[in-house]
């Protein structure tokens, strides 16, 4: 151990996982060996968007040599879901999107399974599909889930049986009624913008596709190896749905090749477990092809958003009337909570006296909308942050000043009635203005090009049930190196590294002494963690790690204090050595943290192997009134931030080049500043990419671009050369060292910042994502004659 970093919190120490990853040694699920009894599974996907299943005939598939089993929804009509149990693991009597799992084939090789999957014959009776969430929410729309009223649902989600609305969140604040904001309020507005903005479904597109291996042993022990952000949540869901005792259900999850929310909750994993059940004792592997990943795993929901927002002549926001229709896709087991989150944060980061907000999650015959980085916030900010610019322009105010004037501040009573916790959004705005050179006009690089700058701000709270828990264990080795056991997943964000930093800091040992024992996370051995979602790990898991380390520290100080006959309060641990401020004695941690210390004259021993445990669970989140969305504390906290974009548009072709993105986020405390910067950079490019991404469906609901050939991610050439980041640190009351999360926030407002910059460059607004050169061109060349002779 060459270097010794004491007090690592706040320092940009190297990542604990980097070495394994640059050598190719890091193991992901598909890199694990399962031995010669491994079988392969293939899912039979529905080719139609909405239909009744009349008949499934698997006899030809079963007759193919090498096929071991075929499972269908008839075998086990089991409902599954995190918030709303609305999904059969395999379609039971009906399919609701192209790509839905209808059957699972197990065979001795992937090729045979693939071939057999094509031989499963399914007879469908087509039903009318619903693709648009706004249309789908109407009372006369074809019903996707006639049994909606019978599904099990958590007590904070409100489906509307008899319709396609799986969640309806109502926010009522100030002078509003169900009919809208009071006319008197609108009458006070100097300007009002009323408009509609939409976003298509997009895909997480982690470079590692979904993969799961399951084994169901004859003794009832079930093991699932999965690329998962949620091993514990998956264990719980599987145990509940399949009637497996939690203790018999084991989920193992190693490194994950990118998640972005797509590997949260549950997707194909239950299908694989049921395949394994059909071939007891054999592990069964299912890996999604990139094409399957697009249609048959999770996607980000689409949105149709209707806004009416007004302000007075001085630029004070007076009223918002908002209706968000999320296209939740065929199953909304997770998506309902996105609509809810969009509902209780519907105003964006603004203080508005009168708000009527309705947020709906609507069933559509498209792939399953689920958690994705930002969880509803990128969707609602797309329109909000453009309308703020439009209002500012209408009353002749600078857009950044307008946002700064209206944005939430600490102590504000925000839309749900909750008091805004400690954050500094104005400072974030000031930082990005400075970094982007706000107000300064840059010269385009060619006469046919235009430059433009745009700015957008955001907020986001961790969207979760009120009581998601974290736990951690620390355990010393003889040489005083420490193993930290957590179940937060390392999905690239650096969770393991900050866990190690916090443990070292809280214990008083060098960073280099800490090992993170979380790869793989194994529900049989690892401490409980709800899920790696909601940007909650640094905060929640961090608190648990800190508590575990403090628990261990307390034990050590007690032993040494007794040994020295001193008061533990006079002792401290510095750099791996216990010191007494009173007697100035020193005791190395080595050996004593396992063997304890002898009593004087060797009359017995005290102490023993030090193991610390810690937990954290927020206990203060309250319910909200179902009719008004009001309550004492809707969420644990908010993270806020600002982004500004400088871009250039080629007016000949419509091509957009984002030259620079400047971001500033209030993270409370940067446990590892460089890791925060890598989130800021990666998020900015993810946000940029998402503005140009879209899943395009045909009229039958089939995806037209299910591969990277035509679903384009930003490449190294598309990403801006310059990404500036500023870290603002306004400590969070209950964050470890004041820290709050920032993993998702970094991409929330990139798309509207780009749109605002486009407006600045061209004077044209874009209401519908995705952006493309084509859209820009056509919008700026309306009326051009485009009929040619050929």
């Amino acid at each position: 151990m060459k270097e010794q970093t004491s007090n690592p919190v706040g320092k940009s120490v190297p990542r604990v996982d980097a070495f394994e990853k640059v050598t190719g040694a890091a193991k992901y699920v598909d890199d694990m060996a399962f031995g010669p009894t491994l079988l392969y599974g293939k899912i039979v996907h529905s080719p139609v968007a909405h239909a009744l299943i009349k008949k499934i005939d698997a006899s030809k598939a079963l007759a193919l040599p090498g096929v071991k089993a075929v499972v269908t929804g008839q075998d086990s009509p089991t409902l599954l879901g995190l918030y709303l149990k609305d999904r059969y693991i395999y379609a039971y009597d009906r399919v609701r999107y192209v790509g839905e799992s209808v059957a699972g084939v197990v065979a001795i090789s992937e090729e045979i399974a693939e071939q057999a999957a094509k031989l499963v014959e399914v007879e469908y009776e087509l039903l009318p599909p619903v693709f648009d969430p706004y249309e789908g929410a109407k009372p006369d729309a074809p019903l996707l889930h006639p049994d909606l009223g019978k599904y099990e649902v958590v007590n904070f989600i409100f489906p509307e049986p008899g319709t396609n609305v799986s969640e309806h969140f109502r926010l009522r604040k100030g002078r509003v009624s169900d009919a809208g904001v009071s006319d008197e309020v609108w009458a006070q507005c100097a300007t009002i913008v009323e408009d509609q903005y939409t976003l298509p479904q997009i895909q997480h597109a982690p470079i590692e596709t979904h993969i799961a291996v399951a084994q169901w042993n004859p003794d009832g022990q079930v093991t699932l190896w999965a690329a998962s952000q949620s091993p514990f949540a998956q264990r719980d869901l599987l145990a509940q749905s399949l009637g497996i005792p939690h203790g018999n259900m084991r989920v193992i999850s190693p490194y994950i090749g990118g998640g972005f929310g797509g590997k949260a909750g549950i997707s194909i994993e239950a299908n694989v477990v049921l395949m394994a059940k059909a071939v007891p004792g054999h592990p069964v592997k299912v890996r999604m092809t990139r094409e399957e990943e697009f249609v048959a795993t999770n996607v980000r929901q689409s949105l149709v958003a209707k806004y009416k927002i007004g302000c007075d002549k001085d630029g004070n926001l007076l009223a918002m009337d908002l209706a968000y229709y999320f296209g939740g896709g065929a199953y909304n087991d997770y998506g309902v909570n996105i609509a809810r989150a969009a509902g209780y944060s519907c105003t964006g980061p603004y203080d508005v006296p009168n708000v009527k907000g309705d947020s709906y999650c609507v069933y559509t015959n498209h792939p399953i909308g689920s958690a994705m980085r930002g969880f509803g916030m990128p969707e609602i900010h797309w329109g909000l942050e453009q309308i703020m610019d439009r209002l500012a322009e209408a009353i002749g105010m600078d857009a950044a000043d307008f946002k700064r004037q209206n944005c939430v501040r600490q102590g504000d009573t925000i839309l749900t009635g909750m008091t805004m916790p400690n954050v500094d959004l104005p400072q974030c705005i000031d930082k990005v203005k400075e970094a982007i050179g706000w107000g300064r006009v840059s010269k385009p690089s060619a006469p046919h090009k235009r430059r433009g700058k745009g700015l957008a701000i955001m907020w986001k709270a961790p969207a979760m049930p009120p009581n998601p828990g974290s736990s951690a264990i620390v355990r010393f080795n003889e040489d005083a190196t420490l193993n930290v056991y957590v179940s937060g997943q390392e999905i690239g964000q650096g969770a393991f590294t900050v866990a190690a930093q916090m443990a070292a800091e809280a214990l008083g040992i060098p960073y280099e002494w800490v090992r993170v024992s979380a790869n793989p996370v194994d529900t049989k051995y690892s401490p409980y963690e709800w899920q790696t979602v909601a940007s909650r790990l640094t905060w929640s898991m961090g608190n648990a790690v800190k508590a575990a380390a403090e628990h261990a520290r307390g034990q050590i100080l007690d032993i040494v204090a007794k040994y020295w006959g001193e008061d533990p309060a006079d002792l401290d641990i510095k750099n791996g050595v216990v010191i007494s401020y009173k007697s100035e004695r020193e005791q190395s941690l080595k050996k004593m943290v396992v063997y304890g210390l002898p009593n004087e004259n060797f009359e017995g021993w005290q102490g023993g192997p030090i193991v610390g445990s810690g937990k954290f669970m927020p206990t203060y989140v309250t319910g909200l009134d179902p009719n008004t969305g009001q309550g004492a504390r809707a969420v644990v906290h908010y993270t806020v931030g600002a982004q500004a974009v400088d871009l250039e548009v080629d007016t000949d072709t419509g091509q957009i080049e984002v030259l620079k993105i400047a971001s500033a986020y209030d993270v409370g405390k940067a446990i590892n500043p460089d890791l925060v910067m890598t989130q800021i950079e990666g998020g900015a490019v993810h946000g940029l990419s998402s503005a140009f991404e879209g899943m395009f469906f045909d009229a039958q609901g089939r995806l037209r671009n299910p591969s990277f050939v035509d679903y384009k991610l930003a490449t190294s050439l598309d990403a801006p050369r310059e990404i500036h980041g500023d870290i603002v640190e306004t400590p969070l009351e209950d964050g470890p060292w004041g820290a709050r999360g920032v993993g998702e926030h970094v991409m929330v407002q990139t798309a509207p910042a780009i749109a605002n910059a486009l407006y600045n460059a061209l004077g044209v607004r874009f209401n519908h994502l995705p952006l493309s050169a084509e859209k820009v061109y056509l919008a700026t060349h309306e009326g051009e004659e485009l009929t040619c002779k050929a």
Binding site: E111, T653, R704, V709, K712, T715, E784, C788, A790
Partner: protein, 285 residues
């Protein structure tokens, strides 16, 4: 992936025997960058693939009195850097090769594969059209040469008969002083297929210039824009260029697809043609 058998013949006799195996679907294989995705997705279901890279001359670039012979299995990366291809005469082809895909793809993809796939968006095609190349085709019965304009019959359709191989292209040396430019527009800066691709070439003649212009991705096959060429042959003033780009626009009949609408493609044909023309003008002495 659906199983198939692989052979790598070293003589043409053996290759033609394999290509005409009875009751088998046989496909030539070069860089496999089109073939593997197509087989994976089961659009193509060969029982046998015949690797053409071991056949004599397939990987060679040689200068002959009639012009440059580029073997069908010559890779894009080689076209980019080969001293003859990259010489002023044929450099347009090197530009087209560089515009294709990404590094990994260019290290495998061959000129022959690009032409035989016959995608309307094939990046090498417009360059070869303007260079008036000929496809050199060989079958058991012997060799024939087909002007590249007649090689493409439609999307994914070529003049190759069953059992025939494209063994190379013959590219006559354009007259001294010829300069060319290939301009490609796609959704992303690189690594993407063309929405529109335009190759332009001009050489001095009789005190003026002779122009060749070819368009990719805007018709069922890559096409020459002869009216635009005729316009440019008359001069290069702004009005003529404008007229020529209008002619290029009129020559195209694009479709809507996932990459672009026909509308946008049409609008871009004249824009990209202009860039190609201006690129050539900038290089003309």
């Amino acid at each position: 992936m659906r199983p198939f058998d692989y052979y790598r013949p070293e003589t043409f006799e053996e290759a033609f025997r394999l290509l005409t195996l009875p009751d088998k679907r046989v496909m030539p294989l070069a860089g496999a960058t089109d073939l593997i995705p197509m087989v994976r997705d089961e659009h193509w279901q060969p029982d046998v693939v015949v690797d053409v890279k071991g056949l004599p001359g397939m990987c060679d670039v040689v200068e002959m009195p009639e012009g440059l012979i580029v073997g069908a299995a010559v890779r894009m990366v080689e076209l980019m850097h080969h001293p003859l291809v990259n010489s002023p005469r044929w450099n347009l082809l090197a530009q087209a090769a560089a515009a294709m895909g990404n590094e990994q793809v260019r290290n495998r993809a061959t000129l022959g594969g690009n032409l035989c796939t016959a995608s309307p968006a094939a990046d090498s095609a417009p360059a070869l059209l303007t260079l008036e190349a000929k496809a050199v085709i060989r079958g058991a019965a012997g060799e024939r040469r087909v002007p590249i304009t007649e090689f493409f019959l439609g999307p994914r359709k070529t003049a190759l008969q069953k059992g025939e191989l494209l063994i190379g292209v013959l590219i006559p040396a354009p007259p001294v002083g010829a300069v060319g430019t290939y301009v490609k527009l796609s959704r992303r800066k690189a690594g993407d297929l063309a929405i529109v691709g335009v190759a332009a070439l001009a050489y001095p003649h009789d005190g003026g210039h002779v122009w060749c212009l070819a368009l990719g991705a805007v018709a069922p096959t890559p096409i020459r824009a002869s009216e635009a060429e005729a316009a440019l042959n008359a001069g290069h003033d702004e009005a003529t260029i404008e007229h020529a780009t209008k002619c290029a626009f009129d020559a195209c009949c694009p479709i809507d697809d996932i990459r672009a609408s026909a509308e946008y493609r049409k609008a871009m044909v004249s824009r990209i043609a202009r860039r190609a023309i201006e690129g050539v003008l900038a290089k003309l002495p």
